[in-house]
Structures are given as C-alpha cells and as structure tokens.
C-alpha cells in the first residue's frame, strides 16, 4: 500500500513539474509594470493605458499566459482587416484573474483581400503608416462600457518563423504600438512578444 502511495505521489509530482508553464514576465526597470521588449516567444504583452500598466493575464501553471488571436476579418469593403487581439488585466498583482476597466485590446490593420502569410512575413521590421490602423478596447465598466475605438501606430520590429520548439511552423512576433481613443484614453509604450502557430491562422 505504501509503495502504491509513493508511486502515485511521484507520478503526481512529475506531472506537476512537467506541465508547469512560466509567466515569463521580466520587468522593465525604466517602465514600471511593463515587461522588457523581447523577441523570445514569451507570449507576453504590456502597455500603459492612461498611465496604468496592463498585461495579458496568466491563466495558471497549466495554461500559462493568455494567448493572442491573429486573424483576417473579411469585410464587404475593398480591404479586409488583420486583427491582433489579446486579453488584458491591470498588472498590479491583484488576486483576481480579470480586473481593471479594460478587458481586451485589438489592433486592426487594413490589408488586401489577397493577404497571405508571406505578406505578413514581409512586415518584418516594418513600421506601418502613422494612424492608419485602428485600436479597440473592450470595456465593461460602469463609466465606460462597450467597445471603444481609436487610432494606433504599430511597428512589427521582428517577425520570424521559429521551428525550434515544435515541428510545426510558428510565427514569433515582436512589436511596439501606441494609440489614442479620442483625447481621453492614451495608450502608450505598448510592446508584445508572441508566439503564434501558423496552423491557427485563417490567411
């Protein structure tokens, strides 16, 4: 009986240690509450919204950091939209998994209807034209509820294909962004470091 208990305890311990995902938040000492600007596929994104630091949430040791979504949205107009979006929470060590005024941030970039993954790769090192992109904040709060839209600047500093971690193709994307929603909401010093499987893309 003792042996069986030891066996299960060992298996449990192995499962716990093998499945542990990391937060990979390395604080930027120049910008309190924000992560360093990295290109290591850490799946981390931080930004100041009106001076408050926001970060994508950590969903626990098993699931790791909340992942972004990158997809092309087909429109009835002449161009489609490439949308990069992720959940955000206040980066204030609060115990609640979701907190703050804003819950989601989306960067929307107009693209041709024929936009492909190769076109996306060609954005490596490209700063998109000023204020040509939209930024959306999802807000469910007594003072500001709904989807708030504004303009943004986006710089894809690095877009690489990373084959080192899995056999399938993974895009490693690092970039900077800022924006504003009217005069009341300022989005500054945004930076992201995402690892996105090519198989999850719809373009």
């Amino acid at each position: 009986m003792k042996r069986i208990t030891y066996f299960f305890a060992t298996v449990l311990l192995l499962l716990c240690t093998a499945g542990c995902a990391k937060r990979n938040f390395f604080p930027d000492t120049d910008d309190p509450g924000l992560s360093r600007f990295t290109s290591n596929g850490y799946n981390i994104a931080t930004v100041y919204i009106n001076g408050d630091a926001f970060i994508n949430p950590f969903l626990g040791a098993y699931r790791g950091n909340s992942l972004p979504s990158l997809s092309r949205i087909t429109t009835s107009g002449t161009v489609d939209s490439l949308t990069l979006s992720w959940s955000i929470v206040l980066n204030n060590d609060a115990a609640l998994p979701f907190n703050g005024v804003y819950q989601n941030i989306s960067l929307m970039i107009p693209v041709d209807k024929s936009f492909t993954q190769n076109d996306f790769l060609s954005w490596n090192g490209k700063r998109l034209a000023a204020n040509s992109n939209s930024i959306y904040l999802n807000s469910f709060n007594s003072s500001a509820t709904g989807i708030l839209a504004g303009l943004s600047n986006i710089y894809f500093v690095q877009i690489n294909i990373d084959n080192s971690k899995t056999s399938s193709k993974v895009y490693q994307i690092s970039g900077l962004f800022d924006g504003n929603i009217g005069d009341s909401i300022l989005i500054t010093k945004g930076r992201f470091d995402f690892s996105i499987p090519a198989s999850s893309l719809n373009f």
Binding site: T29, F37, T38, S39, R127, A129, N153, Y155, R191
Partner: protein
C-alpha cells in the same frame, strides 16, 4: 558537481604525494592583463592577484589566492525602436558592459622544473569561489521614446570556479604567471542576455615577498 568532486579528489591526490616547492612562506602580488575566453566578444580586465603560501615546508604546497579583475568597457552597437511616427523608427545605441570579477581560491602549488637555483617553474591547481558582477548601460538612450529589443541587464552571480596557473619564478623574487579560470559552474538566470560568465585568462607580472624560511 561531478566535475568539482573530481577536481577535489585530484587535489587530495596531489596532497598525498610529496611535492617539492619553495621552502619559504611568501606573499606574492602581481598584475597584468586578462582576456576572457568564454565570450565571443571577450571582456578585458586588469587583474590584481594576491597569492599566499602560508606554510614554509617544502612538502606542504597549500596556496591561497585572491584575484580582483578591474574591467575595461566592452562596447557594442544595438538598435532601439519606436512606434512614434514623428521619430526615426530605429536608432543605434552604444551598449557598454563591465564585468567585475572577484575570486578567492585555495589549492596547491606544484614544482615543475628549474633552470637554475633561482629560476623555477610551478604549476598551481585551485578551487575557488567567484563573484561575477556585470553592469550594463546604454549611451544616450532615450528610454522615454525608444525600446531596445532583448535588452541586456545587470547581473550578479556567485559560484565555484576552477583555475590553473603556470608560474615562472624569475630571479627568485619576481613572478610571471599565466592563469586560466573556468566560468562560474552554475546555471545562468532564466532571462537570456548577450554575455556569458567570464573565464579570464590572465598574464601577470609580480613580486614575491618571502618570510619565515623553513629549516
């Protein structure tokens, strides 16, 4: 860990055999130039090395060594980026890294051979504890508007090191030493930086202060 144990076993092995060294206690102070051999862009230092052989008996080769390496700046160019459309999207910055090394070691001094009575060669074999402190700064970094991708950061680590030296005692009183040390025998912190632990290769010139001659 296995490597350290092997090294300690080797030290004990040397201790167990009769070794001929100089029959006097001495303190030796030396300095020179050091080049790191563990980084592709090596760190350079001015080493200051203090050696003490506390036991005068020829059969006791025990030696204590303290090394402090004063760093030169290690310069490189890195890029910083901004999403602000009113500024250039990319600028080059000079990154300076300084590595401060402090090591306390203990080991053996083994006599190799002599040219004459006052010109002798020795081999040192040491296990040490080393502190390696790296300081990083970026020159003219406008960190309000720009971000360095994968920035290097300061680090401060300590751990065991191994080292060996070939020592030439010149005219009895002077010493020329070629000293090689391993990097810290520990894992790096999780955040990746562009530099590795330093492994200094030192060439030093010094003076031996003898005292307490054995009979």
């Amino acid at each position: 860990m296995k490597f350290i144990l092997t090294y300690i076993a080797a030290l004990c092995g040397f201790m167990s055999i009769s070794v001929v060294t100089s029959g006097q206690s001495f303190i030796s102070l030396s300095s020179g130039i050091s080049r790191d051999i563990n980084n592709t862009k090596p760190f350079y230092h001015i080493p200051v090395s203090l050696q003490w052989k506390p036991f005068p008996k020829s059969s006791n080769p025990f030696l204590i060594e303290v090394d402090y390496d004063i760093p030169f700046k290690n310069n490189s160019l890195v890029n910083a980026y901004t999403s602000n459309p009113s500024l250039p999207q990319q600028v080059s910055l000079q990154e300076n890294i300084r590595s401060y090394l402090f090591t306390v070691s203990a080991g053996l001094r083994i006599y190799l051979f002599s040219i004459d009575a006052n010109n002798k060669f020795y081999f040192d074999f040491l296990l040490g504890f080393c502190n390696q402190k790296f300081k990083v700064d970026y020159v003219n970094y406008d960190n309000a508007n720009y971000e360095v991708l994968n920035p290097d950061v300061d680090s401060n680590n300590s751990g065991f090191v191994l080292s060996t030296s070939v020592v030439y005692n010149l005219n009895h009183d002077f010493q020329i030493m070629l000293h090689a040390q391993t990097p810290l025998l520990i894992d790096r912190e999780k955040y990746p930086v562009s530099y590795k632990f330093a492994a200094p290769l030192q060439l030093t010139f010094g003076y031996n202060f003898y005292y307490n001659k054995s009979k």
